[in-house]
């Protein structure tokens, strides 16, 4: 690995992201850009140096989270310097912005849009491609602890639906702030391009000890189903019951490893969407449906 640093931008899941890169790079090859403006007296986080200004490196490799507007700004900053950027979804604060970022990057080679839990959804989609006939319905449900940017969780839901059943044709979505000051729950349904029907549910409003991930693909001749609570790791204590998944490497660690490998070899980032625009367009169509309470064609 060269001498350039990976710059972590934004405080979303910072501990997991920093830990993932620290395992793969020398500690001083990572920097965090202003993770917490209220605590600038700190100059390290988990032993990682905190940078207060964008570095002057010729080739910046950035892992960008944070609020949506600053993601776009940071992405353009990295790309204009000829760098590579892994940008946590959604890519920009509008469809036009996302398209502009992709255009500025000259395609997806320098911009990575990480996919969540790739292995599970890819396995389900692969399994559904043979033996169950034409897909007729897809259900994807993702109930997780709160995140700082709800659009990121919802984007991953849309991405999952597209991965499982193909491009969406139309979407209807409803969102609400059920237990917090910002949106924490989204229900959506609609049609795939091939007429199959989908349902997606994202919620961060459930009790912290509860999580659930459901993947269900039905076809004319069979079905594929996954329920995290039926197959997950259970921990019961006096404080309650914890449901989680058991990993050898967390999704962040796998993502970081794939990203750094792509950086070293100048290859495509394997954990990114190869063609992100259909997902991005579906995501913004769902956002419009939420705003207007109407069905939106894609």
């Amino acid at each position: 690995m060269g001498n350039q640093s990976v710059l972590l931008v934004g405080a979303d899941n910072l501990a997991e992201r920093a830990a993932a890169y620290k395992r793969l790079l020398p500690t001083d090859a990572i920097a965090i850009l202003k993770p917490d403006s209220s605590d600038e007296s700190r100059n390290t986080f988990l032993g990682v140096p905190v940078a207060h200004d964008w570095p002057d490196d010729d080739a910046v490799v950035a892992d960008i989270a944070g609020d949506i507007a600053s993601r776009s700004f940071s992405a353009r900053h990295a790309l204009e310097r000829g760098g590579r950027a892994i940008i946590h979804p959604p890519l920009g604060d509008s469809l036009a912005n996302a398209e502009a970022i992709l255009a500025a990057a000259g395609g997806s080679a320098r911009v990575a849009l990480p996919i969540h839990y790739t292995h599970k959804y890819e396995a389900a989609a692969r399994s559904a491609r043979s033996g169950i006939g034409d897909i007729i319905t897809v259900r994807a449900i993702r109930i997780f602890p709160p995140t700082q940017v709800w659009q990121q969780s919802f984007f991953h839901l849309v991405e999952s639906l597209v991965m499982l059943g193909g491009p969406l044709r139309r979407v209807y979505a409803r969102a609400a702030a059920l237990k917090s000051s910002t949106t924490d729950t989204v229900f959506c349904n609609g049609r795939y391009a091939n007429d199959a029907i989908f349902y997606g549910e994202m919620s961060t409003a459930y009790p912290s000890q509860y999580s659930k991930e459901v993947i269900e693909i039905t076809g004319r001749d069979g079905m594929v189903e996954y329920d995290s609570n039926a197959r997950s790791f259970w921990l019961a204590s006096e404080n309650g019951i914890s449901l989680t998944e058991a990993y050898h490497r967390t999704p962040y660690e796998k993502m970081a490893a794939a990203y750094l490998q792509a950086w070293e070899t100048s290859a495509e980032f394997a954990a990114s969407l190869p063609d992100p625009l259909p997902v991005i367009r579906s995501f913004w169509a769902a956002i419009k449906s939420i705003e207007d309470n109407e069905v939106v064609s894609i």
């Binding site: 007729i136 349904n189 609609g190 049609r191 007429d195």
Partner: protein, 335 residues
């Protein structure tokens, strides 16, 4: 309580007959169906029963209604016949347990409710899921405030596809999986929240078996009074060798917690090596038993049943809104 069973078009009638045979407060006295073969399961149950009652059998249900000893009837015909049979039974002075969905149109529902009210007889919609032990316990916990106020719900009711019979004849069924299944989930959601559905957006189609004339897959996103979010998957999209039955599942998010349950989730699974058949055997207490028990106690005590004709009407309203949503491609307001 002397009960007559009218029509075995819907297989649920056999479950209700079984419950009647077990109930100390009920007696099966007559059965009517124009198709003799549809009575075979009932006759087998009677043959196996140690104290089998003497059940009069008719091909025309009007003859059953003419019997003075019949005090109440269980109607399990094709959906399109529910209204006329219920009105005839009410006019004959018989209390009515009517299979879900209550009927096809809201006008029929209003006529059924009015006929029973005018005759002074009970009209109960057969929503047995309210009587499943897990649903009952969940309701008690919700009513005790254990999860706070309900904010969001997701429910399912799945089945293997129907490929023949009145279920896929739109003239007799009034529709497919939406007509058949959302009424169970919608009723549970209404029961748990005490709120009505106010808006429905539905996607539905005939995709599992494209040759049939009714919808077999659907997914609904609904809004209840107070802005409660809900969604329902009622599809007949399971494979023919699917081991479960019903998959009536509900997940409730409240202000202080959550509950999820599946009515038929705790079942024995039986696998046969030679045939490859996999089947599940429900091990919970019979929800049909408690449905019939409540029906009989309602009549004997002169009180209102747990599930009324109005509850059946609300299910029909949700069904009609879903079909209108599909036809017009937009969310539909109810009421």
């Amino acid at each position: 309580m002397n009960i007559g069973a009218i029509s075995f078009d819907h297989g649920h009638q056999n479950g209700y007959v079984s419950a009647i045979l077990e109930l100390p407060s009920a007696q099966l006295v007559a059965a009517a169906d124009p198709i003799p073969e549809q009575l075979q399961s009932m006759q087998a149950m009677l043959a196996a029963h140690p104290e089998a009652p003497d059940v009069k059998v008719f091909s025309d249900y009007h003859e059953l209604l003419a019997l003075d000893e019949v005090e109440a009837v269980s109607i399990c015909s094709a959906n399109a016949d529910h209204a006329q049979m219920t009105i005839d039974a009410a006019q004959a002075g018989k209390h009515v347990l009517c299979e879900k969905p209550l009927c096809i149109t809201l006008e029929e529902a209003d006529a059924m409710i009015a006929a029973c009210r005018n005759a002074g007889v009970v009209l109960c919609t057969a929503y047995p899921c309210r009587f499943a032990p897990v649903a009952w316990q969940a309701k008690q916990r919700v009513d005790a405030g254990e999860i706070g106020d309900i904010l969001a719900m997701h429910g399912t009711n799945h089945l293997r596809p129907f490929t023949e019979g009145w279920f896929i004849d739109p003239q007799r069924s009034g529709g497919g999986t939406i007509r058949d299944h959302i009424v169970h989930v919608t009723d549970l959601m209404r029961w748990f929240t005490g709120k009505e559905v106010v808006e429905v957006y539905a996607e539905g189609d005939t995709l599992k078996r494209p040759h049939i004339a009714v919808d077999d897959v659907a997914i609904l996103v609904e809004t209840f009074e107070g802005g409660i979010m809900a969604s329902t998957d009622p599809s007949w999209n399971r494979p023919e060798n699917w081991s479960k039955w019903g998959n009536v599942y509900l997940r409730l998010l409240g202000t202080r917690g959550m509950i999820e349950f599946e009515i038929t989730g705790q079942a024995l699974v039986r696998t046969e090596a030679k045939s490859g058949a996999i089947s599940s055997i429900d091990t919970s207490e019979s929800m049909n038993y408690y449905l019939l028990k409540d029906f009989c106690e309602t009549i004997l005590a002169g009180r209102s049943p747990l599930v009324t004709g109005e509850d059946g009407r609300a299910g029909v309203a949700a069904v009609l809104a879903a079909y209108q949503s599909i036809a017009e491609g937009r969310p539909i307001r109810i009421g």
